[in-house]
Amino acid sequence: MNWVIAIIKVVFIWTWCLLWATVMTWAERRGSAMIQDRLGPNRAGPFGLFQPIADGIKLFTKEEFRPKTARKILFNLGPILFAIPAFSAYAVIPFGDKIVIGGKEILLQVADVNIGFLYVLAIGALAVYGIVVGGWGSNNKYSILGGLRSTAQLISYEVPWGLALLAAVFVYGTFDLRQIALEQTGTFLGFLPNWGVFKQPLGFLIFTVAAYAEANRVPFDLPEAESEIVAGYHTEYGGMRLGLYLFGEYVNLYTLSALCVTLYFGAWNLPYIDMSKFLGPISYGIASFVVFWLKVMVFLLSFIWVRWTVPRFRYDQVMRLGWKTLIPLALFNLLITALFIQLTV
């Protein structure tokens, strides 16, 4: 029976991610239009909601083209390597508390792994291979530049990212993401919700900045900086291979936002209110899921907001920010956290 539930959960969360990644592309277009005093796509379906579907159909039926000088295997492998980690990283992140159906308790999480944390870090680091392999395999100078930029950037930002997460681990004392979510109930210092962001404000800041870099979003979208290196690592890609890259990016965003909510924003917990007390087991499960999802959406929208507000960094500035600012800050944060824990416990 368990494996049936597991499959249902996998399929559900997979479709869910896919759905919201799709909606994200729509939201990005409409959101940017809103910011820029435009209308945005509004012809395909109501409010242009089917726009991503139209894009998908078009990309699927477009000619699958591979440049003569490209490495066949690498060229084909790139988008796949990029998309798979994006999807699989979500396996350990919870998407709700638990739901009780027919006396059976179902955790709203694909796999409750006690080292979920490390899993996310490891899988997240894999995504760069998709970019590098695709960029290298295209045999195009712009693509290689994009791939190189991406490698340097991801390696640089994995470090502060990891350090920021480490500080969070200090606070929670566990690698288990579910456990972390459960810890964030009640209040902190008597009046604040007991959320990670209040215990780790600096850590949250570093995490967010690093997350933008991990997701290749403005101001860190150097690997595909449109005005500099045309389309970066996916310059030579068209059709569905390109679609995988674009899609993977949004799935990545969803995963990152979910991780951020889990760690710093109390996962499915509402501030000051304990939902499980006055909701039935099924409705509680659904409510926790919805609350979690709404929080994720807020983060996704903030990604869009930032995307259309700030300019892009230069390559050396990205490196400088990563190595000279974020890493010392993250170390400092780690030190403070450790000291604090040492003194209070």
Binding site: R38, K141, P311, R312, D316
Partner: protein
Amino acid sequence: MEVRRPTIEDWDNPGDLVTINIGPSHPAMHGTLRVIAQTDGETIVSAEPEIGYLHRGVEKLGEHLTYHQFIPITDRLNYCSAIANNVSYEMAVEKLMGIKVPEKAQVIRMIMMELARIADHIVCIGILGVDLGAFTPFFYLFIQREEIYEIFEWYNGARLTNTFGRIGGVEADLPEDFEERWRKLLPNLKKAIDETDKLLTHNRIWMDRTIGVTAFSPEDALSWGFTGPCLRACGVKRDLRKDEPYCFYDQVDFEIPVGKHGDVFDRYIVRMIEMEESIKIIDQAIKIYKEFPPDAPLMAKVPKIIKPPVGEVYSAIEAPNGELGFWIKSDGSDKPYRIKIRPPCYMVYQAFPELVQGEMIADLIACLSSLNIIAGELDR
């Protein structure tokens, strides 16, 4: 600012350099520019621009058209501010023929030229933003640019290529509700400039990306023949509107913004301030305009077929990009014998290798956009 630029000798192994061909089909190259850059990783060792991808033979064409027929061709030089080109050409022909343009027509020209200057700077700043990854100011500014176009369109029927004015004056008076329209546009325009200022000027990323990037000394700039905002950004206070006043520029009060380092940021700031100064000029020019009676003449006495006497003149005005000059040689017939256009960004762009050497690829793009290279007048 002291800038030491590395040269090709600074690289140990020139064989390891990668040649990157940027353009002409490249998002930041405006369709027609091409730079062949030698790079070491992201750093540019040397860059060589190649131009001529929009060489349409304007000067040769001018020799086969009559003086009047050439006015529409001048629209297509700097298509962001066609009116400045028209007026510059007309002034050259008027100088050749010794025509004195009625004062009211001069004021109308002045108002329209300043509007064109705002429109031109809007394009430049908007695209500079886009090329640095900040898309939104572009849209804010372009809304107001549309409004300026509305005014152009409703004055002479065209949005972009206006074919404004005639040799000897202007073809029509300003419509009655011009001032009303301008007053309606003004707060929005100011707001858009203000919003752009808020979004960019004090934005840390923007400052990092622009301050000190491709700085240039005033001596170099003068030697390379810089004019206009790019020269003023280097700290040289030179503006033909003040130095060799034409129209009514000596009777209006405006400031010439000057930068310090000649970097991308200074060019951007100079353009931003110039837009505000242009607004001031238009306000004053409207005041001067209102002093003229409605039936004041708009055209000087000009023969139907223009046949200037044999001779050669050079006349230049301060176009949005800098000194835009026309050198015309007449052989006494109804067609110019030779027209030489002195486009401002031609001189600026030839210094490009020196500007970007030792900077990074991203700076090359920023520099190019901040110079405001318009291929139409670059290649002619």
